[in-house]
Symmetry: C2
Subunit: 112 residues, 2 copies
Amino acid sequence: MDGDRLSRVFAALADPTRRDIVARLSAGDATVGELAEPYQVSLQAVSKHIRVLEDAGLVTRGRDAQRRPCHLEAEVFDLMTGWIERYRRQAEERFSRLDAVLKDLDNEEGAA
Amino acid sequence: MDGDRLSRVFAALADPTRRDIVARLSAGDATVGELAEPYQVSLQAVSKHIRVLEDAGLVTRGRDAQRRPCHLEAEVFDLMTGWIERYRRQAEERFSRLDAVLKDLDNEEGAA
DNA sequence: CTCGTACTCAACTGAAAGGTTGAATACGGA
DNA sequence: TCCGTATTCAACCTTTCAGTTGAGTACGAG
């Protein structure tokens, strides 16, 4: 099951700092130091955040001398949208079925 | 800012039990007792889970005598997909721009 | 082979999450 | 009005999480 994976992805994105990191990585790769710079928290804290994103599969990292450039893995988003769309669609289907039933009731009433 | 809202939505869906509840509600409304039935945990625990989903805006509830039927609010999914798609698109754009640059380099090399 | 840079690891702290049980509360039915 | 059903509230426990500081590691430059 990749339910565990999905849990990690959602949990990772529940934190505003981590969402911001993802947002910034969507504009291009960056090192830990670069990513940490705008935040008030310690470099170590940001390093931990990146680890969480990495464990969720949202981020991969390379090596460039002592730097560890972070790269956003956009494919993981598919896992989320897949999950979301499945249930959204189901809910909407049900909604339109209800809609149809109500319309039918209206028609019958009008006909009677 | 609705960043806080987004945090609550993602956090709510980080829990497998809550995701399962959402999945089941996508098939139709249900009471707390009905939702709790398949799980090992206490009814109170499920009641708490539902409250988290409610606070995130994923679920609303009516009243039917002593029952509190839960209803899935599919619109909140749009908030998530909106966020996700924004950064996915940005990342993909960047990717195709890089692709174009590499292709250009190839062409120049071929021409030289 | 040092030295500074870029980071990670380890140990600790406070707050929040998810679970429990037991006591309220809200309502319909007899 | 009293009872049972459905659900929530309250207090508590344990684990996880986000943050801290201080020490350790990995690498390139000089």
